[in-house]
Amino acid sequence: MVKQVPDTANISGQVMKADGTVNRAKLPAIFNPEDKVALELALQVKDRFGGKVTVITMGPPKATDILRECLYMGADEAALISDRKFAGADTLATSFVLSEAIKKIGKFDLIFSGRQAIDGDTAQVGPQTAEKLQVAQVTYAEEIVSAKGDKITIRRKVDEGYEILEATLPVLITVIKEAGEPRPFKAKRVMAYKNARSLLELEKMADSNSLLSVDRLKEDYLSKALFISTYTLDELNIDPGRCGLAGSPTKVHKVASVKLGGGEHESIEPTKDGLRSLIGKLAADHIFG
């Protein structure tokens, strides 16, 4: 499971609108870093033990960008889960749609996702999806130690160290960024899959050119193995009341635009006495001590 997120690490001046909401147009969309590591781990498992890696993402048509990147890195298949009715979802609604899509796609042994996305930082979607699928979950994974039969051994990070767990398949694993460095795009796969398109992208192509029809395009892309499967609400046949904004009990109460700025300041001499007085003040203000 991967997610396209705004690049919160590279923020420019115009990203916040005057009302404090995010100006998405000014924020480049990127592959959520820990999800990329999760894919790396999944591909490593495939390299070591065999299998097939299918990637899913829920998002707008533009999220197909990161699905193509998954194909460039080595994923066998990719699927876009997209519908206007999925928009505005909190973690509950998101994990519901994802779990239903996974059921639809079929049998699985392992599900990998990043620990959390850099936009929401909730770290809830992985665990909630595992609950809905009723499978075991191992969070904060940093290494797949071994796998044999229906058992997998995973090292996970805990506060003061790590622990090694054995789990019975199927398992959902959330991955931290220390687990590995995502592999580079493979040149041949980039050339092979650069034209892969999801249904929604084909619809857009058909809209802008009256000579094209979606069905014909889909057939054409399928025949060239360049069609990225797309699941909409209708195809998943799920309760719209549990999707998107409608299915999200989390509501944004208020958005405040907080301006950080310095107020008063004071100079301290770089002498022993100066430092002593600084430490005294910091301790008095409970900044440390």
């Binding site: 580079p184 795009f185 040149a187 041949k188 796969r189 980039v190 050339m191 092979a192 650069k194 193995a225």
Partner: protein
């Protein structure tokens, strides 16, 4: 997150403005593989899009992975213990990454696992990699070895060696140099002999072998016992193994990440590549020309890195109440560096296209012959491309590698005392640049290689055509300067040939080759300025400077500056 391809505006300009259509059509054999490989292009635009996307991968790895490790690679270097060479950690990691990205067989055909890219694109990749770590280029740039086997080996040899090289599982080495055979490879002694069953073995010593610890080695050896010159040498390919011992690695001024080995061949089993006795006269010349393009691109990458360090430092460093970049003498140095950098890049990729065209025409003619199709047109075009590539390759290597030394020198100068310190990258670039005008043929030998084409004025038609062309605005004045340079050149050439003195011609050759390069590059820059206004600045400084330089060179020739060579014995005490 710097991407060393996309963040380089001038490299982008070259990429966007170059016409590779003829080369792509040849290399793709009219797109015959489109339905065979899902990554083969469907047409020229698709091919260009592929090249761009793959260079973006190279640029990403260079900027975000290799460059971060370069300083440590330089500091730690390769190490040698118990007969084994170990790469610096950063080099091993970078090679692993490049292998995973499938960038180690760029030019080899798809059926051997390569990407079937033109040399021009490979050259761009070398520039990009070298900007991050010049020493890595010495291993990355060994892809020419595969090309030699492709061109001259048997089908069995291609099947055996090329997939290993293209995948990156095996690295290679070119073992040519020996203790007594450096610039003069005719003196190679390493012995090649056959047993009663006709199997070849190699015995002797090779020195200064870049990546001599590689798995597959191309070796130049004396197959004809008793001979003394180049005609007794043949080319062989062999594997590393117990009988091929590494005696030591060199402790060098720069390119520390690239291990330079002394090799002892103790009756190593080998295979003959191509025809006997053609080792030096044909195959090494080919290999060497490829390597010269590689080193030119390496020099360009180092120059780019040094220029950026200089510009960044000059803008950040304040003295006398202003950034030193705003002090006129420093501004002037920076502009000189920038003009050299861009004019050299134009030369590099123009040359790469002629080299590409020559190689792809050769392959195409071979195919046409097999298919019993007519190929007369291709032969005429091949003759032209061969002559021009043979001139431009050494001219490019001379110009770019000398410039890399000048640019890194000035970049360090701009850093002042700080630049002399190891904490800054710039001293590494200075040291790395210093080898580029020495190996794969010194600058002096590049002049020797280029002078024939210059004396024969092989670009005459092209220059004469350019002289009649109309250029816009200030460019017309610059075109006038180029016409004047050509007049001076023709006069000097006449002076030198009339004198009919080989001794004199040998030393005046540098002046003549330089003038000729000014003409070639000058017209390239004028053409670029026609489509891009900013480039008029580059063309202007380049051509005005070229005219001054030409006059100086002409004076050196006409005033018999070199007459004192006859008295060297008295002068050199």
């Amino acid at each position: 997150m710097p991407n060393f391809f996309t963040d380089n505006a001038d490299l982008q300009f070259q990429f966007d403005n170059m016409d590779l259509q003829e080369i792509i059509t040849l290399i793709e054999d009219n797109f015959s593989e489109t339905d065979v490989y899902n990554y083969a292009p469907a047409d020229c635009d698709d091919a260009m899009d592929n090249y761009r996307k793959v260079l973006e991968i190279a640029g990403d790895i260079a900027g975000n992975f290799i460059a971060l490790r370069a300083a440590e690679v330089d500091e730690k270097g390769s190490t040698f213990a118990d007969g084994k060479v170990r790469y610096a950690q950063g080099i091993s990691e970078a090679l692993d990454r490049l292998e995973k990205a499938e960038l180690l067989g760029l030019t080899l055909p798809r059926k051997y696992g390569g990407l079937n890219f033109p040399t021009t694109i490979y050259t761009m990749a070398i520039e990009i990699i070298s900007r991050a770590d010049a020493s890595l280029m010495n291993i990355f740039g060994l892809q020419d070895i595969g090309e030699t086997i492709l061109k001259y080996g048997t089908d069995e040899q291609r099947d055996e060696f090329l997939p290993k090289l293209a995948s990156g599982h095996h690295t290679g080495a070119m073992a040519l140099t020996e203790p007594d055979a450096g610039s003069d490879l005719q003196a190679v002694k390493l012995q090649a002999y056959q047993d009663d069953d006709g199997n070849w073995f190699l015995h002797g010593v090779k020195r200064f072998i870049t990546n001599g610890n590689g798995d597959i080695l191309l070796v130049l050896a004396r197959s004809e016992a008793g001979t003394k010159d180049g005609r007794g040498l043949s080319m062989f390919v062999c594997y590393a193994g117990d009988r091929l011992r590494i005696r030591r690695i060199e402790n060098k001024l720069g390119i520390h990440g690239s291990p330079t080995c002394e090799l002892h061949f103790d009756n190593v089993p080998a295979q003959l590549v191509g025809k006997r006795k053609f080792g030096l006269i044909k195959y090494v010349m080919d290999l060497m020309n490829g390597a010269r393009m590689g080193v030119s691109a390496q020099a360009q990458g180092i120059s780019q890195a040094a220029y950026e360090e200089a510009l960044k430092y000059a803008r950040a460093r304040e003295q006398f109440g202003q950034p030193i970049a705003d002090i006129p003498v420093v501004t002037n140095m920076l502009i000189n560096m920038r003009v050299m950098l861009e004019s050299n890049r134009s030369l590099l990729y123009a040359t790469a296209r002629w080299v590409d065209l020559r190689d792809k025409l050769e392959e195409s003619i071979k195919r046409l012959k097999e298919r019993k199709q007519p190929f007369a047109e291709e032969v005429t075009r091949l003759k032209e491309a061969t002559r021009i590539a043979a001139l431009l390759t050494p001219m490019t290597k001379y110009t770019l590698t000398e410039a890399a030394n000048k640019i890194t020198y000035d970049a360090l100068q701009i850093h002042g005392g700080t630049g002399y310190m190891k904490e800054f990258n710039i001293e590494r670039h200075v040291r790395d640049a210093r080898i580029t005008n020495i190996y794969e043929g010194t600058s002096q030998l590049q002049i020797v290689a280029a002078i024939g084409g210059v004396i024969n004025d092989i670009l005459k038609d092209s220059f004469e055509k350019k002289e009649t062309q109309n250029y816009k605005g200030i460019l017309q004045k610059l075109a006038g300067h180029l016409a004047e340079i050509r007049e001076i050149f023709l006069e000097c050439r006449k002076y030198v040939t009339d004198k009919n003195d080989q001794y004199f011609q040998d030393v005046a050759a540098r002046e003549l080759v330089e003038m000729y390069s000014f003409l070639f590059v000058g017209y390239l820059l004028l053409d670029e300025a026609q489509v891009n206004n900013r480039k008029a600045f580059i063309a202007n400084r380049y051509i005005v400077n070229a005219l001054a330089h030409t006059r100086k060179n002409a004076e050196s020739i006409r005033n018999e500056q070199y007459a004192d060579l006859l008295h060297a014995g008295e002068i050199l005490i």
